[in-house]
C-alpha cells in the first residue's frame, strides 16, 4: 500500500523538478562601471550586448542598462552622437532607440544592489526596477576595471565579490530569479564570481586571478580601443551563429567557442551552483538567457465556422448580462454581510492610504517638523555652550 503511494509521490516530485525548467520572462542587467573617454570600450561592450539582447527579443522594459558616462556626446568623440564597437564603424550602437535606465552618477554600487534586491523607493518608476519573479531568467553582464574580488564603480567606489554574492543570495531567497547567467569582462574577472553561493547561477568571466583582460583593437580615428577581447568573441558567436530567436544553440557551444589564443586570457566558467551541474548548464539554450522565448500556446485550432462562433459570442454575452445582474444583486445584498464589515474597513483603510500616496509630491510634514526641532535644539545648544564659555571666561 505504501510503496505505490511513495512511487507516485516521487513521480510527482520528479515531475515538479523537471518541469521547473520553464521560464516565462527574460531580463537583462547590463552594467558598465567606468567613466571617462579612455574607457570608451566598456561602454561599447555594454551597448553591443544591449543591441544583441534587444535583437533577440528582450524588450526595453526588461533591460536595465547602466551607463556611467555618455561617450556619444563626449567632446573628444570625433563622431558625435555615435558609439562604435569596431574600427570599420559599420554599426552605430547608439542608434536612435536606446533606453538608458541608470545614467552618469546614478551608476553606483548602492543603486546596483538596490536594483538587484529591489529595495527601491516608492517613487522609483517601474522601468528602472528589476521586476522579476521565480520564473524569470536574468542575464547580468558587467564590465569595467576590476581586481581581485572587486569591481570598480566610476573610480569612486567598488563592489566586492562578497557584496555581489550576498545580493544574489537575497534575490534567491525572495525568489527573484529562476536561472541567472552572470557574465563579467574585467581584469581578474573570475574572482568576482568565486564568492557566489546561491543556486542556479551560471557564471562566466574573462580572466583568471592575476590576469588582465585585454582590449581587442583600437580605432585610430576614434582614438581609443573600442571593444574588449572577451566581449568581442562572445559577440562574434552571438551575431554570427545565433541569427534569429529560433536558434537552438546551447550555452555549452558558446563556452566552447572561447579561444584562449584569441582572448589572451583564460575565461572561466562556474557550473557548480547550477541545478543539475555542468551538464544541465551546458544544455541550456543561448536563447534562454539572451533572448525572450516562451512556449506560446496557440489557440483556435482549425478555422472556426461562422455560426458556431456566433453562438459562442451569444453565450458570452449572456454570461456578461448575467454577471451584470448578479453584480447589481450583490450590490443590494452587500450591507447585510456583517462579518465582512471589519475586513472591508481594513481594505478601505488600505485604499485610503494608497490613494493618499498617489500625490505627485509627497511632503512629509511630521518629518520636517522633527528635523526643524532637532536643528533648533542644536543651535540653542551651541549658543548655550558659547554663553557658558564666556561666562566661565569672565570669572
Amino acid at each position: 500500500m505504501a510503496s505505490p503511494f511513495r512511487s507516485l509521490l516521487t513521480l510527482l516530485l520528479l515531475l515538479a523538478t523537471c518541469t521547473l525548467a520553464e521560464h516565462t520572462s527574460n531580463w537583462a542587467v547590463l552594467v558598465s562601471t567606468s567613466r571617462f573617454w579612455f574607457n570608451y570600450r566598456h561602454l561599447a561592450n555594454v551597448l553591443s550586448l544591449y543591441r544583441t539582447v534587444k535583437r533577440l527579443g528582450i524588450p526595453d522594459s526588461q533591460i536595465i542598462l547602466m551607463l556611467p558616462d555618455d561617450m556619444a556626446c563626449n567632446p573628444r568623440n570625433a563622431f558625435p552622437g555615435t558609439v562604435y564597437n569596431n574600427a570599420d564603424r559599420a554599426l552605430d550602437l547608439y542608434g536612435d532607440n536606446i533606453e538608458v535606465d541608470y545614467r552618469g552618477y546614478e551608476v553606483t554600487v548602492e543603486n546596483f544592489i538596490r536594483l538587484m534586491t529591489d529595495r527601491v523607493g516608492e517613487d522609483m518608476p517601474r522601468s528602472k526596477r528589476l521586476l522579476t519573479d521565480d520564473r524569470s531568467n536574468i542575464l547580468v553582464y558587467m564590465t569595467g576595471h576590476g581586481g581581485n574580488e572587486f569591481l570598480k564603480f566610476q573610480d569612486a567606489e567598488e563592489i566586492s565579490a562578497f557584496d555581489l554574492a550576498d545580493a544574489f543570495e537575497q534575490m534567491w531567497e525572495k525568489k527573484r530569479y529562476h536561472e541567472m547567467l552572470f557574465m563579467i569582462d574585467t581584469c581578474q574577472a573570475n574572482t568576482m564570481y568565486s564568492k557566489f553561493y546561491s543556486p542556479n547561477i551560471l557564471a562566466t568571466g574573462s580572466s583568471e586571478i592575476d590576469q588582465s583582460s585585454y582590449s581587442h583593437h583600437a580605432d585610430n580615428d576614434v582614438g581609443v580601443a573600442v571593444i574588449d577581447r572577451y566581449t568581442y568573441y562572445n559577440l562574434e558567436f552571438l551575431e554570427t551563429q545565433v541569427r534569429d530567436p529560433t536558434s537552438k544553440l546551447t550555452m555549452g557551444e558558446l563556452f566552447d567557442s572561447y579561444d584562449e589564443e584569441l582572448i589572451h586570457s583564460h575565461p572561466g566558467i562556474r557550473y557548480d551552483l547550477f541545478h543539475g551541474g555542468e551538464q544541465a548548464a551546458r544544455s541550456r539554450l543561448v536563447m534562454d538567457f539572451f533572448g525572450n522565448v516562451q512556449n506560446v500556446e496557440v489557440e483556435g485550432g482549425g478555422r472556426r465556422n461562422e455560426t458556431e462562433w456566433q453562438e459562442e459570442l451569444r453565450a458570452i454575452e449572456g454570461m456578461i448580462a448575467e454577471a451584470k445582474r448578479r453584480h447589481n444583486e450583490s450590490l443590494h445584498t452587500r450591507p447585510q454581510l456583517e462579518h465582512l464589515v471589519e475586513e472591508v474597513e481594513a481594505v478601505d483603510k488600505l485604499r485610503a492610504q494608497s490613494v493618499r500616496k498617489e500625490g505627485a509630491v509627497r511632503v512629509d510634514e511630521e518629518q520636517g517638523w522633527t528635523k526643524q526641532v532637532v536643528g533648533a535644539a542644536a543651535l540653542l545648544g551651541c549658543a548655550g555652550i558659547w554663553v557658558a564659555g564666556s561666562w566661565f571666561e569672565s570669572l
Binding site: L13, D163, P245, G300
Partner: protein, 589 residues
Amino acid sequence: MRCQQLSTPRRRHHRKMPPSTQVDALSTPTRAPDGSETAANAAEGAPARRQPPPESNESMWTRRAVIFSFWAVVVFLGLPVWWKTTAIYRADLPLQAMTDWADGKICKPVFPLRIAVEASALQSPDAQHLIRTTQHALDDLNEFSAHHLRLMLADSPWTANLSQQVVSDGLRISGKDEDIALTIRLVPVETGTTPRSHLQQYAPTLDVYYAANQIPPASSTSSPLATFIAHELHKMFAEEQAQLAYLLSTTSSAHSAKIKSLSPETAAELERQSTRALKYAPTYHLTFSLFSPTFVPSAWEIESALQQYLAPLLESFSSISNFTVDSQVQLYAGFSPSIRQPEYDETLNAWTLRKEDLSGFINAAEWPLSPSIGIGPTVNFVLYVPDQSQSPLLVKENGGNSWLIPQWGGVLILNPAQAANTANTPTTLTREALAPAMHTFANQLLSLLGLPQTPNSLPLRLSTLKRVRAASLLFSASSTLGALARLTRALPSIPIPDKVAISVDFTTDHLQQACNNLREGRFQGALEHARIAEAEAEKAFFERSMVGQVYFPDEHKAAVYLPLMGPVAVPLLMAALKEFKGLSARRRG
C-alpha cells in the same frame, strides 16, 4: 594607503606637543636630533646654562589630572559614542515564529466548504437522513483531508417564513449566506431519468432531480440518490482539490506528506496552468494595442467594445482583483523583423507564420508596450492587422490566428477584409468587427488570471479562484517571512529598522486572521487578510534602508580609522606611557 599609515606617526613628532608634555620640552630646549647625550655634554661643558626649576608637586598633579581627563573623555565618552554610532541597529524580529510560518507549522490551511441543501419537498427528518448518508458517501470519496465539503440543510425560500420559528439546530443555515459555496436544490420529478443533475451556469446552484422513491428509507445507510449527489459533488470539486493539492505540494514541503497523489497528467496540466497564470496582484493593468504595418486601420471602437464585451467580466472579478485599462493604436508598426517572413500556403489559401516563430513575433524593440504606468503588472493584448498583401495571415500548424504568451498576455491577428468579404482593410474597426478579438482576449484573460476550467459555472469557478488565491497568498507571505528570517540570520551586518519589525508583526497578525477565516470557511475574509499580509511582508522584506555595502575589507577599515584615530591615539598613549615610566622610576629611585 600604506604610505599614509607610515607617514602618520612621523608627522606627529613635528606637530605641537600636547600641554602635558610641555614641561619636558622646556627642560631640554636644545636637544639635538641624535639624542639626549649631546644635551648632557652641553650642560657639562657650559655650566653657565641654567637648569630648569624642579617640577613642583602641584604642576605634576595638574599634568596627571590633564592626562587622566583626556583618557577619561576618550574611554567614557569617545568609545561609547563610537560604539553607539557605528553599531548597526537591528530590531528584534520574532525569527522562530517567522520560520515556523514559512515551514507551515503554525497554519495548516483547511478549506471547509459549506454546501446548502434545499429540500423543500421533503420532510425534515427525511432530509436530515439524506444529508447524513450523502455526507457519509462524500467523506468516503474524499482523499484530500484539507478540502472538506460539509452539507447542511438550508431553509428553502418558500419555507423561510415557517422556519423563523424553528430552533436552529446547527445543521440549518440561511440560504442567503455569502459563505455558502454551493446550493443543491432537490427537485422531485416524475419523468426522465432520475437522479440527474443540472449545474446552473451563472449561479452557484446545482439542481438535482429525483424520483420520490429514491429517498432513502430511514433504516438504510446508503441510497442511489445519496451516492449520486456525492459523486456529482466530488467530480465538481475535483479540479479545485487538485489545484489546492498541487499548490500545497509545490509551495511547502511540510504539506506534501499528507497530500493525495495527483496523477502525472493532472500534475503536468496544473504545472502548465501555473506557468501560464500571472502572479496574484490586487490590481492589474490591461493594455489593448492595435498594431498595423500600414496606415489602416487607423481607428477602432475599442471603448465601446471593451464596455460591452469585457467590463462585466472584469466586474465579476472585482472581489479578487481590480483592473485598469488603456489602449493604443500604432500605425506602420510591423512585427519583429528577426523572425522568418510569412509564407503563402496553397492549401490554407493564406499567408502563414510558423509556430516556433510566434514567440518572436512581438516587436519588443519598437512596439511601445509595457507603459510602466499604474501600480500593478501589465497584461498585454495585441491586435495585429496584417498588410493587405499578406492577408489573411494565420498560424501554419493549426490555422489559428491567436496565441497566448504565458504571464504576458495574448496576441490575435485580425484579418478584417477576410471577415467582411471586402477587398480592402477598413479604416475603422467597428465594435462588431472587434467582437471575435474581444472574445479571444476575454478567454485569454481568464486563463491568464488562473480561472479554473471546471465546473461549468462562473460563480463557482470564481469562488474556487478566490480560495486558491487566498491559499497562495498565504504561502507566499509566509515564505517571504521565512526568507527574511533566514537573511537576518545569515547577514549579521544588515541593518533592520523598527519599521520592519512592525511590518512583520502586522503580517503575522493578518496571516493568523486569514488562517482563522479559512478554517471557518470565510474565504472572502481570508483573501482580504492574506492580501494585506502579503503586502506587509513585501514591505518588510523590501525595506529601503536594509541595504548597504555589507562587506568592508579590513584595509578599508584601517584606511578609515587611521587618519582619524592615529593623531589622537599617539599623544595619548605616549603621554600615558611617559607618566607611567616616570612613576615607576620614582618608585624605584
